[in-house]
Structures are given as structure tokens and as C-alpha cells.
């Protein structure tokens, strides 16, 4: 009985203790349920988002760049389908065998093979390795033929930038290539849209209008597992192509420029004298921008970089030259405007001028005799311009030159590498060289030598502004207005000048007329420096001014020797320049031509103008009729 009693007492203890535990259990269970409640119901949204973030990954594809077209809508920077070859390591049975096969099929270098092997070890097995970015069609066919033997290899079609006119537009457009780290960080849009394999503008307009051209990424949404392997595609969101850019340039003129400057260093620019549309700007020699798309080879790069004609320099806006005699129209205009001379003012040219014991030579040793303004311009008499420059003084000349755009950037906003050149005056010399101006310097400034530095485009603009009657225009390369007929263009320019007084560059329109006539005679009258290059047909007839700028001082000995061009070392030869506008009656276009070390302007540069004007004026009608104007906002 005692045992049983004890037993009962014991089990009472057990039951009581169990009851306490039971209570604790209920509390703990309630705690767990409330935790479940808070996770699954209160914070459900948060965790659902996190779970989607886990499972959904986006793959951005490189955006397709917008096209750049010329004035007539021809694509000058477009996109091309290219065939790439990818390897997907996880599908490859025998990697070494595959590499050997590909090596023989595609002629891959050992370095490339090594690179692929490195990539294979670095990437996840389902990430594709790009073997070749740009297969030729025959390579593509070959690979497709042997595809049964190349397990794990995938030919892929993608889109790549393409410059159909190769080197014709290089300096204007620039090129695209893979960005480096800084370039990605620098540009927010690029940073946002960057994906490996994407190319960005490295130079020229491609760089300047990167954000306009870039386009938006296509996005693939995949469900991925914890290791990042794609399980299935959930969505494909197609990106849009970048915006189009239409240039004022004319491919035909551009091509002719390239042809004329073949194997020469120099530049050709052509401009609409009323609207400021740049019809051509070509810098020679050029190089093929397509070379940079898939990474230029060291050898090709060295070839471009070490070319003595300096293809990397955009000579049209960054090349600085002494204008030589092409400055004379401005000197003459300045003298007329400042009433230093009248058209009948005559100077006797004896072939040289003495000033403070220094001799200033005219290009014609025997001298021109008595010359008027018109004849001085026609025959490019240096003595005459020494004299009027002396009378005028450099400071007044400087004011006129500045008005016509010398010493200032022409395009400014489009190219980072544009140079502003220099047109000196007395205070400039004082401030920059610390010495006073010497009268002799005025004389040589009057014939476009000395400190004066101009870009080819500045000379073109200067000529255009003389040709249009002396109105300031704003040069541009992006189309922003509908095609204008001659009358419309002229009126629009004059209309603008009514509203802004500083757009009118002259005091007396007669003075402009005098300079124009002088330029006309230089090309179209016998003894004119570019008489040989004239066109008699009034439709194409143009007026111009030659220039021959010395790159070094001519020594007395050399002057006596009177060497032929071929006998002078290339580096020492004169630059040949020519500026012109046409047609003479109702002009529309102005141009400037510079051939580095090309000898004389009349022999080398002026004949090019003849060919150019024929083409430009023939295409004038087409240009006016061009109706596919689209409003493009940049």
C-alpha cells in the first residue's frame, strides 16, 4: 500500500510539473506562430521582392546605335550584322580538341588560344566565350560546315557599327570602340547602359553625340538558379535604336575631296555661304575607322601613328597654317573699310621693300611695277600689301580679321580638338611675348605670314563671309533647317542681320564688292594667279585667292638658287592654299583648300577648286530639292 501511495504522490508531481511545461509550450508555440505571421503576412511583400530579386536576373544586350546620315540620307555610320563565334564550355566534350580544330579552321593565333583557355577557367561553364567577334562570310560558312564536329560552338549573329565609306568621314565621325574604365565612369548614360561588348564613340561626332546615338538596351529576363545558371527566359524587352543624326555634308563632295588629296597631307572644306552648312570637310590623309571596331592590331596602329603625313590630326579644324596670300582679301577690305586707301590707290612694286634696313621681298623678283588694288590682288603683289598693311597698322587689321572669324573657333561645340588659331595685334604680342610690336611684323602679317595661324575651316568661313556680302554666318554640320533656295537663304541671312547688328561685318557694301571683284579677277583675268584653273562657263565660274605660305624663312642663297619644288626637302616646301567661292554670279558656296608642302597655291591648290566647283554646283539642285527633312532634336 505504501508503495502505491508513493506511486500516486509521484504521479501527481509528474502531472503537475507536466502542466507547467504545457503552459510554457503554449507560449513558445504562440511565439513561433506569431513569427510565422510576421514573416509570411506582415513582411510578405518584402520577402517576395527579395525572392524575385534572387530568382530573376536581367541580361542587358548592347544597344544599337543610331545611324548618322549625310545630307541626302545616305548612311555614313550604320550598323551591320556580323557573325560571331561563341563557345559554351559546358556543352563542349573535349575542349582541347575543339581548340585545335578551331585553330586550323579560323587561323587563330597561339595568343588567342591562350586567351580563350584563360577565359574558360575564369568564366562560369554556361557563360559563352567569344572566339571571334567578326567572322568573315567564308569563315562562317566553314564553321557551319564543320559544326557537327564542333560540339559546344555556336555561331551568333549580332550587330556592329559600320562605316560604309571607310576613311572618307573618319575625322568628322570618329569611330567607336570598347570603352575603358574611365570612359564608363565619365558618362552616366554609358555607365547605365554598359554591357561587355558594347562600343562607344571615341572621337568626333560619335563621341560628341554619344548620348544621342547610344540607343537603349534590349533586356532579357531570365529565371536563374542560385549559381547564376539561366533556367528559362521570362521576358524579352526590345530596346530602341539610338537617334539618327543627319549631317549637312555631301558624300560625293567628300569623296572627291578625298580623291584630290590622295597621298597628300591637307584639307578641303566647303561651306554654304548663307546657311553655314558645311558641305565637305576632309582632312588628308585619313584612316579607316572600321579598323577600330574589333580592336586595331598593333601593326596597323603603328602604321597610322607613324605616318609622316599625320593622319590622326583633323587638319580642317586642328591644323594651323599661315594663311599666306589668302589673307589679302581681308587686308584689302580692312584698308578700304578704314578708308586708308581707295580702289585707285597705287603702289610701285620693285620686287622688294626696304624698311629699317630689312628687305621685304615680293614673290616676283622683278616686281609688278605700279599696281592698283585689283591688280595687286590679281597678281598677289606682296609689295602692295606690305604698303597698305604698314598704312593700316596691325591693330585695325586685327579687328577686321576677328570680325571675319580668324582667331576664333568656327564650330566650337562639335569637336573637342578644334583649334582657335591666332591673329596677332600689338597688345597680344606685348602680353604673350613680352616685347613690343615691330613694324616689320605688320608687313609680313599683311601677306599672311608671321604670327598668324589659321585653320582651313576659318579660311573657308572667311571666304564665305566675303562671298555672301559681308554677313556673319554660323557654320554647322548638323541639319537643322529645310533646304533653302538661294533667295530664301539670302533673305534668311539678311533677316538675321537686321535683328543683330553685329552680324553685319562691313560699313560700306561697296568695299566688299571691290574685294569680290578683285578675287574674281585673280581667277578669271589673264595674269591672275589662278587664271589657269578658271572655268569660263558662268554656271561654274568662281572667284578665288591663292596662297603660298612659307614654312621657313627663305635664305638669300635659296632665293638665288630658285629651286624647283622637287629639289626642296618635303618638310621645307611651302604649303599651297586656295580659297574661293562660286558661282561668281549669285554665289552659294565657298571653299578652302590646303595642301601641306604642296608648293604654290596656284599650281597645286587652285586646280582642285576647279574640279570641286564643277561637282558642287552640279549638285546644288539636288541639294535644294532634298525634301526628306526630318526634325532631329539634339
Amino acid at each position: 500500500m505504501i508503495k502505491e501511495n508513493l506511486g500516486i504522490r509521484k504521479s501527481d508531481v509528474f502531472n503537475r510539473r507536466m502542466f507547467i511545461i504545457g503552459m510554457v509550450k503554449v507560449v513558445i508555440l504562440a511565439g513561433i506562430v506569431s513569427r510565422l505571421f510576421s514573416l509570411q503576412i506582415n513582411e510578405n511583400k518584402k520577402y517576395l521582392t527579395l525572392s524575385d530579386k534572387n530568382r530573376i536576373r536581367e541580361w542587358k544586350l548592347p544597344p544599337t546605335r543610331g545611324n548618322i546620315v549625310d545630307y541626302f540620307g545616305n548612311i555614313i555610320a550604320g550598323n551591320l550584322k556580323v557573325y560571331q563565334l561563341h563557345i559554351i564550355p559546358e556543352q563542349v566534350e573535349n575542349f582541347n580538341y575543339l581548340l585545335v580544330r578551331l585553330k586550323t579552321l579560323l587561323d587563330l593565333s597561339d595568343k588567342k588560344i591562350q586567351k580563350i583557355t584563360e577565359l574558360k577557367n575564369k568564366l562560369k561553364p554556361w557563360d559563352s566565350i567569344i572566339v571571334s567577334e567578326n567572322l568573315t562570310w567564308s569563315q562562317f560558312l566553314k564553321v557551319n560546315n564543320y559544326l557537327y564536329d564542333l560540339v559546344g560552338v555556336k555561331p551568333v549573329m549580332t550587330i556592329s557599327r559600320n562605316y560604309p565609306f571607310n576613311d572618307v568621314y573618319t575625322h568628322v565621325l570618329g569611330y567607336v570602340s570598347q570603352p575603358n574604365q574611365e570612359e564608363i565612369i565619365e558618362n552616366k548614360t554609358v555607365q547605365e547602359r554598359f554591357v561587355p561588348g558594347m562600343k562607344i564613340g571615341k572621337l568626333g561626332l560619335e563621341k560628341k553625340f554619344e548620348n544621342h546615338l547610344i540607343g537603349t538596351n534590349s533586356i532579357q529576363r531570365y529565371e536563374v538558379n542560385a549559381y547564376g545558371k539561366r533556367i528559362n527566359q521570362l521576358e524579352f524587352q526590345k530596346g530602341s535604336q539610338g537617334n539618327k543624326i543627319r549631317l549637312t555634308l555631301d558624300t560625293e563632295v567628300q569623296k572627291l575631296s578625298a580623291k584630290l588629296l590622295l597621298n597628300k597631307a591637307g584639307s578641303i572644306s566647303v561651306m554654304d555661304i548663307y546657311t553655314g552648312d558645311i558641305i565637305a570637310m576632309y582632312s588628308s590623309p585619313s584612316y579607316d575607322p572600321n579598323l577600330f571596331l574589333f580592336g586595331i592590331s598593333q601593326d596597323e596602329w603603328e602604321l597610322i601613328r607613324n605616318n609622316p603625313l599625320k593622319p590622326l590630326i583633323h587638319k580642317t579644324i586642328s591644323g594651323l597654317y599661315s594663311p599666306g596670300s589668302t589673307i589679302k582679301p581681308i587686308v584689302a577690305l580692312s584698308a578700304l573699310e578704314n578708308k586708308i586707301i581707295n580702289p585707285n590707290f597705287k603702289v610701285k612694286c620693285t620686287g622688294k621693300t626696304e624698311l629699317y634696313g630689312q628687305t621685304f621681298h615680293c614673290w616676283k623678283e622683278k616686281g609688278h611695277g605700279f599696281v592698283s588694288l585689283k591688280n595687286a590682288m590679281k597678281q598677289s603683289c606682296d609689295t602692295y600689301f606690305y604698303e597698305i598693311a604698314r598704312l593700316l597698322g596691325v591693330d585695325r587689321l586685327n579687328i577686321t580679321a576677328k570680325k571675319f572669324g580668324l582667331g576664333e573657333k568656327v564650330l566650337g561645340q562639335y569637336f573637342d580638338n578644334e583649334k582657335q588659331g591666332l591673329f596677332p595685334n600689338t597688345s597680344w604680342k606685348k602680353n604673350n611675348l613680352g616685347r613690343g610690336w615691330v613694324l616689320g611684323e605688320t608687313l609680313i602679317t599683311g601677306i599672311g605670314q608671321g604670327y598668324t595661324q589659321t585653320t582651313p575651316l576659318q579660311l573657308c568661313l572667311m571666304t564665305a563671309q566675303i562671298a555672301n556680302g559681308g554677313y556673319k554666318i554660323k557654320p554647322k554640320i548638323l541639319v537643322n533647317n529645310k533646304p533653302l533656295s538661294l533667295e530664301q537663304a539670302k533673305n534668311s541671312m539678311k533677316f538675321d542681320s537686321l535683328h543683330s547688328s553685329n552680324l553685319k561685318l562691313f560699313d560700306d557694301p561697296k568695299n566688299i564688292k571691290i574685294v569680290q571683284e578683285a578675287m574674281f579677277s585673280s581667277t578669271n583675268e589673264i595674269y591672275g594667279t589662278s587664271y589657269k584653273s578658271r572655268i569660263d562657263d558662268p554656271k561654274y565660274q568662281f572667284a578665288g585667292k591663292t596662297g603660298t605660305s612659307q614654312v621657313k624663312r627663305i635664305s638669300k642663297r635659296e632665293r638665288e638658287l630658285d629651286l624647283k619644288l622637287e629639289q626642296i626637302p618635303y618638310k621645307d616646301r611651302d604649303h599651297a592654299l586656295y580659297v574661293a567661292y562660286g558661282p561668281y554670279i549669285n554665289p552659294r558656296y565657298a571653299l578652302s583648300i590646303i595642301v601641306e608642302h604642296g608648293g604654290s597655291g596656284s599650281k597645286t591648290a587652285a586646280p582642285m577648286a576647279k574640279e570641286l566647283f564643277k561637282l558642287i554646283i552640279d549638285r546644288d539642285d539636288l541639294r535644294k530639292k532634298q525634301s526628306n527633312f526630318e526634325d532631329i532634336n539634339i
Binding site: 508513493l6 506511486g7 504522490r9 509521484k10 504521479s11 508531481v13 509528474f14 502531472n15 510539473r17 507536466m18 511545461i21 504545457g22 509550450k25 513558445i28 508555440l29 511565439g31 513561433i32 506562430v33 513569427r35 510565422l36 505571421f37 514573416l39 509570411q40 503576412i41 513582411e43 510578405n44 518584402k46 520577402y47 517576395l48 527579395l50 525572392s51 534572387n54 530568382r55 529565371e223 536563374v224 538558379n225 542560385a226 549559381y227 533556367i231
Partner: protein, 375 residues
Amino acid sequence: MFYYKRLNSDLSFIQKIKEIDYVLLICIILLSLISLMVMYSTDGGDILFHTKNHFMKLTVLFPLMMVIAFFNIKHWHTFAYLLYFLIILLLVWVSFFGLKASGSQRWMNLYFFVLQPSELMKIAIILTLAKYYHRVKIENVNSLGSITLVLAIILLPVILVISQPDLGTSVLIALSGLIILWIAGIKIKYFVYSFIFGIISLPFIISFLKPYQKLRILTFLDPDRDPLGAGYQIIQSKIAIGSGGFNGKGFLKGTQSYLDFLPEKHTDFIFTLFSEEFGFIGSVGLLILYTIIIIRIIRIGALSRSNFSKLFCFGFAFSIFIYIVVNLSMVLGLLPIVGSPLPIISYGGSSLLTTMIGFGIVFSAKINHRQLIAG
């Protein structure tokens, strides 16, 4: 002797079948089915290795449970100490010759089955202490000698298991033992004192922890300190459970597990998968099922006339509860990560074996609840 004979009169087979707790049985079968379903889901909606293996284990262990159920509970009383020492021997053997995996040595390879003796100790400790308190006089329960002895009984396996190292199982063994002490009537003040002592010596204990264990505690306190490393499991687990929402993502539609974001989804983290796919409703349902099981076991304990059965049932019910709480708290981010499976549902033979043996003994206690055991 008289009572023994009379009360121990053997029941006929039919009577035994009638005495089975069918509610408990149905709950266990339901849990087994849920377990198979979840296993099927972890295999990505396919009958693969884990599903097959788990099914095979269930088909072997379920009959084992029933055999144990028909086996008189007095035999467990008789062999309790022997079992305890046998498993202690196995634990010692394992610490020398056991299989090693992921840095700990806790398994025996029996060729058809890989046994984890520490899991068996969870049951053995309850049996041993139940037998001890069945025998000891109530006056002696709080004597110094008695307390020292039972603490030694608990500490011996705990130390062996900790040294494997396996913190999770050793904590569960210790808790299972301590709860018997509690139920047996050890004075509450002792528990309070040792609790205070435990708190005070906590820094001291922490200094003894292995670096990875310290890391787990740090991770528990702030999972975001290393989201891809130590904190990864708990963060992903919370994401899975949280994203399940009220209704869940649907069977076989748990993206977290399907896409391999959940580590150890077959074993310790199986609840995350279940909760992701079946949501709050499913999770609470599962908890209710477990609660019914625990209540039924406690009820059987309360019905039992013998103190051994009573102590065993109470102890086992509490152990099941502790397993569930520790497991759920871990996956819900309420406790640091310690390896502890979810009874029946988690993949793992030893844990399932232990649980099934336990249920078998509980059924046996029910069938023989009128019987007294001499001791």
C-alpha cells in the same frame, strides 16, 4: 509479486489492436505523407534519390514502430540501462572510428544504413532517466547523490556528442534529460539557480566554443554582416518563408528551393521549403498536426499507471516539442543555426529511426497503460 501478476496479465492481440491510439497513428501517417510530398518537391518534382530513399526508410521503420508498439513496455524498462551503456559505447566507438563528414565525426557505416548513435541517445536518455525516477523514492529525488548521478547520466553522452562536434544534438539530449528531471520533481530553485549560473558563465562557455560556432551566434545576431557567407542560409531561409505568404507559392512552385537558393533543404531547412510552397496556412496546419501528436502523447502519459510510462511519454512529448521548436526557431531566425532535424519530415535515417522507436514505445505505453511496472 501479486500486483505484478495480476496487472501484467497479457492482453490478447485483438485487445491490443483496440488499444492503439488511432488519432496518433493517423497523425503520424499524415506527417509521413507530407514528408514524402516535400521530399518529392526537393527533388524538383521528380521521384529521385531523396524521395525513394525516404520512402524506403518509412516502409521499413513504420512496421518497426508497430512491432515495438506490440512489444510490452516493461521490456524497455528492463533494458533501459543496458541500452544507455550500449549507445555510450557506440558514441565512444564513433569518436575513434566513425565516418567523417563536413568536419565532424558522428556516423557509423552499417553498409545498409549510416547510423548516427547520438540520435539514438535522444531516446535512450529518456528511457534511462524514466527508469531511474520510476525506481527512486520521491524523498530522495532532491538528494545530492541522486542529483549528481542523474547529472552524470546526462553529461556523459552530452560531452561525447559535443566533442564530435555536434552542438545541436547534444543540446537536444541535454534538454530531453533535464525535462525528465523537471517532471520528476527536482526543486524549482535548483533550475533557477543553474539558469542564473548558466547566464553568468555564458561568456566563459562562449570562449570554449569553436570558431564556427561563434560565427553562427554572431550570424544569428546579425545575418546581414556576411550575406553571402555565414548569413546566407538564414537570409535565404527567411526569404523563402516570407515570400510564401498566406497561401504559399503552390506545390512544386517554391522558387527559392527549386532554384537551389536554399541550402540543406532536405534536412534541417526542410520547413522553409514547405512553408514557401504552402504558406502560412500550411505552416500553421503542420504545427497543429504536431501539436495534436504532442497532446496525444501527453494524454497517453497521463493515462498510464506506471511512472515509467508516464515519465517516458512526458519526456518524449517534450523532446518532440523541443525538436520542433529548435528547428523552427532556427529556420525562422529566432535561434542560431544548430543542426537539428524536423521530426519525421526531415530527410535522415537516424533521426527517423529514433522518432519511430519513440512513437513505438508511446503506442506500447498506450496499449499497456493499465499495467504497473515493478521497480
